[in-house]
Every structure is written in C-alpha cells, then in structure tokens.
C-alpha cells in the first residue's frame, strides 16, 4: 500500500532524511522509532504529501504522491505531530468539515462523524469548542479526524503523546484493531508500545534507517539477548563469577548486583544462546542456592540505545 523508495530530504545543507526506503502492506503496523530529530516527522510529512521530497518516490496504492497527489491523499488519514485542530470550531463542526473535505456528503457525513466520535470517546465534548478542550481530548479529536473517512492507510505521528495511561491503552488497542485491515505507520518514543502494537519496526537515526524487522528480531539483536541471569544466595561474589567464567561457551561474566549475601550475575554467551550453554551454566550452579535463573530475551530499548547516537552521550 505504501512504498517509499530512496526518499531524501535536505533543508539547505542539512540532510534531514537520507535515502530511506521501506514498504508497508495492508494488515501491517509499522512502528517508526528514532531519537528526537532523527527525521521521523519529516519522513511522515513526505509520505503524506505535505513536504515534497528532495529526491526519491512515494507511492500510495497505485498513485505517485508527487504526480498524482489528490487521489493519493484520498487514501490516507494523517495525524500530525502536534495534533492541530481548528480551534474556532466545535468538535462536531471540525469532524463534519473533515468528513466533507474527504468527499463524504449528506447522511454519510453524519454516520462517519458518529462512528469516529464513538471510536475516540468524544461524546462528552461533541459540542464544545476545540479551544476549551484538554490536551487529551484535543489529541483524540485530531485522531478522529484522521480516521473519519475510514482510510486504507493511516499515518500517525506520535499518536499516544500527551495521553494518560488509560487513553494510551485505548488508542493502542484501536491501532492494533485497525491494523488488521489497514496499512499503518506510526512513530513513537515509547518502545513498549512497539512491542504491543507493531508487526514491524524501523529504527531511524540521523536520517537513515539503521534497523528494520519485527520487534522480536530486533530484541534478539540487543546486546544482552541470550544472556543468562543468575541470582544465588550464600556464595561469595568472587566464587560465583570465577566458576561461571570457566563455563564452556561463556564470553564474559558481569556482576549485576551484590546485596548482602545475594549475588546477581549475568553470563553472556560467545555465540547466540542455545540449550547446551544454559545446561552448562546450570551444571556450574549445582550446589548453590539458586533463587532465580533465566535466559534474557533482550530488550528493545537496549538495542535502540546501542544503535542510535544520543546527543546527550559524551563524545
């Protein structure tokens, strides 16, 4: 549904997006990750046709965004980053306008507004001016606008930003449900959201794609993925690390925490974890009072930190 090829955008000498390519099929939810200023919003603005790319192509359905913008835009629902709404209108007026400009007429407008209002829980503020809404309601109003015409493609820039935990959960469920029938791109900073909602994730850093895969694939690439975490009581830390270091296939042993007589260590394998290795660690732990032993799955945020440059990190 969405095909992005070699998309590049420069603002003067600054490369905001550099040679980004990806596709999103119907039934896919693509999570867009990256540090602030990585080029997420710029990419989304090019996908939705707000910004023309410096180079590259965006194809929506069968329409090229540059050559055939109006039919391409018709297929998209878009929630911009700051969730802008016409503040001089009521929620109802704003949504009716959105429906009308999307080409709906007469009763179709009424039903579309009704449906979007129900999906986004806006009944209470329907006749309130957008001006007077709280941030959460305003965000959901803009969200409602993006789904008013039941688009085949949804592009959302930080859809859960500024919502309370309950609303976040609702919106995530909504995205997940809609993702079964639509092609969805959404950007976020919240990595747990990606695991909860996305079928695939792209990590973008300084304008280029640095990772692309399912959340499980990405997690497996995290530095600690496959390591064994072991918590034992009543044994000295040196004895534990010394013995584990000698285990066949152990690359390195990290002392995670030492609390009184309880010692927590992490054993990192040389190659990716396998049954052999965990059995060897288990054998080494024979005779200790083991409180906990598990294979780490790898965390998305560890992987994220390992591949993206942080501007707060010391050079």
């Amino acid at each position: 549904m969405i095909k992005v090829e070699n998309l590049t955008k420069s603002f003067g000498p600054k490369m905001a997006v550099n040679n980004v390519s990806f596709t999103v099929q119907r039934g896919e939810v693509l999570g867009f990750l990256g540090p602030n200023g990585a080029g997420k919003s710029t990419t989304m603005r090019m996908v939705t046709g707000f910004l023309p790319p410096t180079a590259g192509r965006v194809t929506i359905g069968t329409h090229d965004m540059l050559e055939d913008p109006v039919p391409a835009k018709r297929l998209i629902g878009y929630l911009p980053e700051s969730a802008p709404c016409y503040s001089d209108m009521t929620v109802h007026g704003f949504l009716s306008f959105a429906a009308e400009i999307r080409g709906l007429r007469g009763d179709a407008i009424k039903t579309a507004v009704q449906r979007a209002v129900e999906m986004c829980f806006l009944e209470n503020v329907l006749h309130q001016s957008v001006d007077t809404l709280s941030k959460g309601y305003r965000h959901r109003t803009c969200f409602a606008q993006s789904i008013i015409h039941d688009p085949e493609i949804l592009v959302m820039d930080e859809p859960t930003d500024g919502l309370d935990p309950n609303q976040k959960h609702e919106i995530r469920q909504l995205i997940k449900r809609m993702g079964e029938k639509k092609a969805i791109i959404f950007s976020t900073h919240i990595l747990e959201e990606v695991e909860a909602v996305c079928s695939r994730a792209i990590i973008i850093d300084r304008g280029t794609v640095v990772a692309n895969g399912t959340p499980q694939e990405l997690k497996r690439k995290a530095p600690n993925a496959g390591a064994i975490l072991l918590r034992v009581t009543g044994v000295a830390a040196e004895a534990v690390t010394g013995k584990l270091r000698a285990v066949d296939g152990a690359e390195r042993v990290q002392l995670v925490k030492e609390e009184g007589s309880t010692v927590t260590v992490r054993v990192l394998p040389k190659s990716s974890a396998n049954g052999e290795f965990s059995r060897a660690v288990g054998a080494a732990a024979q005779g200790w009072r083991v409180e906990e032993l598990h294979i780490e799955e790898g965390k998305l945020d560890e992987y994220f930190r390992s591949i993206t440059a942080s501007d707060t990190a010391k050079k």
Binding site: V70, R74, I76, P84, Y86, M89, R102
Partner: protein, 245 residues
C-alpha cells in the same frame, strides 16, 4: 468546486464563531456613516447622490480589509492546521480560492448592509441607481484587491499583526500613487515627463475606482482589479509552496 465551497463554508463559519465578525460589521457601518455624513458633508452637498459615501471607501478599506484578511493563512501556520489542510485531498489552489472567496463574501455582506444610505438618497431625491450599482461593483472589486494582497502577506508570516501592517503599507502605496495631492507633486517635479506620472498613477486603485464612482464599468478598470487579485493569489500559491520545501 465542491472543495472550494467546503473550505469557504468553514472559513465563513470561523468568522461568525466569534464576536469579531459582528464587531467588524458594526464598526464598518459606523465608520461609513460617520465619513459620509460628518466628514463628507453629505447634506451640505445638496445633491441626491452617493459621492460622499463612496469617496471614502479606499481609505476605510485600508484598515478594515487587512483586519479581515490577516488571519487567513497566518493563523493556519501558527496553529499548524496548514499541515492538515495540505494533506487533505484538495489542491492548494482550491484552498486559496476557498479562503479568499469566503473573506470576500464576508466583506460583500458588510458592504450590502450599507443599503440604508441608498434608501436615504432615494428618499431625498432622484439618484441615478445605475451609478449606485456601478459604484457598489467598484467598491467590491476594490475590497477584493486589498483582500488578495492581505492573503499574500498573511501567507508570508505566522504573525497576524505583521501581516496586517505589511498589507496596510502596500495598500497605502496603491492609494497614494494616484491620490491627487501626490500626483500633483509628481507633475510639478517632472513637468516634461508626464508619462512617468501616468505610469505611477496607473498602478493606483484611486485612478481605477474613480470611473466606477461615476457609474462607468470600464473593462480596463475591471481588468486592473481582477489582475491585482489574480496576481496576489498566484503569489500566495508560490509562497505556500516555498514554505513546504
């Protein structure tokens, strides 16, 4: 066409959503009345015509039209709704036309509400209604030209006040270029080069509004106002495109 109507409807409802629209209309009507009867000396003229009424329109519009049009694009930019508007399945041209026509319709409404002046003149004497109609057409075109210029300046900035000031300055130039006190100075300064004076005053709305006030709807003057509107709106589309790249 449908999209233009949708945009225009939204714009008009935005005007009337706040008291600003009503305040504007009241101020406009009070000022036209004040200038016609107090400053223009309507009764002292002892003529049953609308000269004293239309005479002041270029000056009245100088402040009132930029006040109406200043928010058209700057507000979209400030609130970020331009990102919504430009990702809707419409062409930029439809958005520009929709917004312009809505504001123009609003000005037309304000102008139409001055009808009691016509009724007064009709009651007092036997005015030429053809002249009145021509003057109204000219006045509406004048407002349209100012408005198109304001749309352009409004697209240039996020700040309504800046848009207001720049458009007042441009419109003031369009008045002064053909205002008799200024043209007289020019004629004195350049006695041998009359064509320069004529060239400068050809850019003025005063020169072109004059004939309308006599009831003459000349195609040249029509063309002038329409080309000011066309040029300004085209420039608006160029500005909006450059904003997005």
């Amino acid at each position: 066409m449908g999209n233009i109507t949708t945009i225009a409807k939204r714009e008009l409802s935005a005007y009337f959503a706040s008291p600003v629209a009503y305040v504007f209309i009241v101020i406009f009507l009070l000022l036209t009345g004040f200038f016609t009867f107090m400053v223009g000396g309507f009764f002292e003229r002892n003529e049953a015509n609308l000269t004293a009424f239309f005479l002041w329109h270029p000056w009245l519009y100088l402040f009132l039209v930029p006040a109406v049009g200043m928010r058209v694009w700057s507000e979209e930019r400030r609130q970020g709704t331009i990102e919504l508007l430009m990702t809707m399945p419409i062409t930029p041209w439809q958005a520009i036309m929709g917004k312009f026509l809505a504001s123009w319709a609003f000005l037309a409404l304000a102008l139409a509400l001055t009808f009691p002046v016509v009724v007064t003149v009709k009651y007092l004497g036997n005015p030429d209604l053809g002249v009145a109609a021509g003057s109204y057409i000219g006045s509406l075109l004048l407002a349209g030209a100012y408005l198109a210029i304001t749309c352009l300046t409004s697209a240039l900035t996020r700040n309504q006040v800046v848009a207001f000031i720049i458009s007042v300055v441009i419109c003031l130039f369009l008045i002064l270029a053909g205002w008799p006190p200024v043209t007289n100075i020019l004629t004195k300064a350049l006695p041998d080069n009359r064509w320069i004076v004529e060239l400068v005053s050809a850019f003025s709305v005063m020169t072109h509004f004059e004939d309308f006030q006599r009831g003459v709807v000349d195609s040249r003057h029509l063309l002038f106002f329409l080309s000011v509107i066309g040029f300004s709106l085209f420039s608006t589309s160029v500005v909006l495109r450059s904003l997005r790249s």
